[in-house]
Point group: C2
Chain length 206, copies 2
């Protein structure tokens, strides 16, 4: 029987909502069966980091070459270095029938949406706005002005929800993970994804 192509699962959401925590919890579970998408970067490897495991390390020249060839699903520049998601790696993994998991900022997710219309876009949402404000405030010792601008930014990011297929409330990390896993199982059962297999089965057995 034909193997189903792997999904591209994109987890995003406003700053402070807990994307990283949810992703770490997902990948710490023994039965999680997604490939974590390895990012590409122009920054130098830190001690203990391995190429093609922690990151794909590239020179600035190579990275810009890949950008111009459209070989990055999404990218951004941050403190003088590029960070991005290599398209070939994602496609090869999906072609091998493995689901790829990407955790990115909302700006990156917008870029991916344009390039991968069949991607699975999951928006991680706070249980309430006040909860999100609490999390943004509780992070450190920033001034009120910084906190206020973060909250304004988070509100804008919340409105970007309309670009997503699913919204998962991050009321508890474990429950959020359960919902994400359920979404992936459900997507694999979508009729459009499996019917070909059955129609071939019907043809074979006349």
């Amino acid at each position: 029987m034909r193997k189903q192509r792997g999904l591209l699962i994109v987890l995003s959401g406003p700053s402070g909502v807990g994307k990283g925590t949810v992703r770490k919890e997902l990948f710490s579970q023994p039965d999680t069966n997604y490939e974590y998408s390895i990012s590409m970067t122009t920054r130098l490897p830190r001690e203990g980091e391995t190429d093609e495991v922690d990151y794909f390390f590239k020179s600035r020249e190579d990275f810009e070459e890949l950008i111009s060839q459209g070989k990055l699903l999404e990218y951004a520049e941050y403190v003088g270095n590029y960070y991005g998601t290599p398209l070939d790696y994602v496609n090869q993994t999906r072609d091998a029938g493995r689901d790829v998991f990407l955790e990115i900022e909302v700006q990156g997710a917008e870029q991916v949406r344009e390039k991968v219309p069949d991607g699975l876009f999951i928006f991680l949402a706070p249980p309430s706005l006040s909860e999100l404000e609490k999390r943004l405030t509780g992070r450190g010792t920033e001034t009120d002005a910084i906190i206020q601008s973060r909250i304004t930014e988070a509100r804008k990011e919340l409105e970007m929800m309309n670009l997503y297929d699913y919204v998962v409330e991050n009321d508890e990390v474990e429950r959020a993970c359960e919902r994400i896993n359920a979404i992936v199982i459900a997507e694999h059962c979508k009729r459009e994804r499996v019917e070909k297999r059955y129609y071939e089965m019907l043809k074979e057995n006349v």
Copy 2:
């Protein structure tokens, strides 16, 4: 916060695929949180059966009146009696925020599809055609001709898969139930179903 309207979950599939077994397993699980849709019938109550629990018992006249008023989601006549799904009961339960679960034949599911476009249609499929044939054959002591006509019928029913949103393979009853539960969780996370709540939240907290 606004409560989400309950889903209408329709489980169907070819004869012999194991719809009843899967439904019974689902409803035997302590954390299953669906309302099982109570059917309406013109047959007389058997001993121990209670009106509005086992069935809604109706006279033939009343049933036909409800048919003409469009008050049945689907119905069929079987051995001289009507059986059907009352629309009001389904709507009231959904309005109360509860998911309604319906297990019906593919012909009934077609009728429901027309009346409830936002229903969740799950097609239970055999792992293979030979497995389905084995199950149809293994049922009793029927002649080859009867078995052959059942297989032909089941093939036709398999082709009706294209009317469904999801296809769940019934390789093992427990795994099929897990997939169905996952589909329901995922559907509750669909952006269209929850975004209103968040946009209201954003408005409230300016």
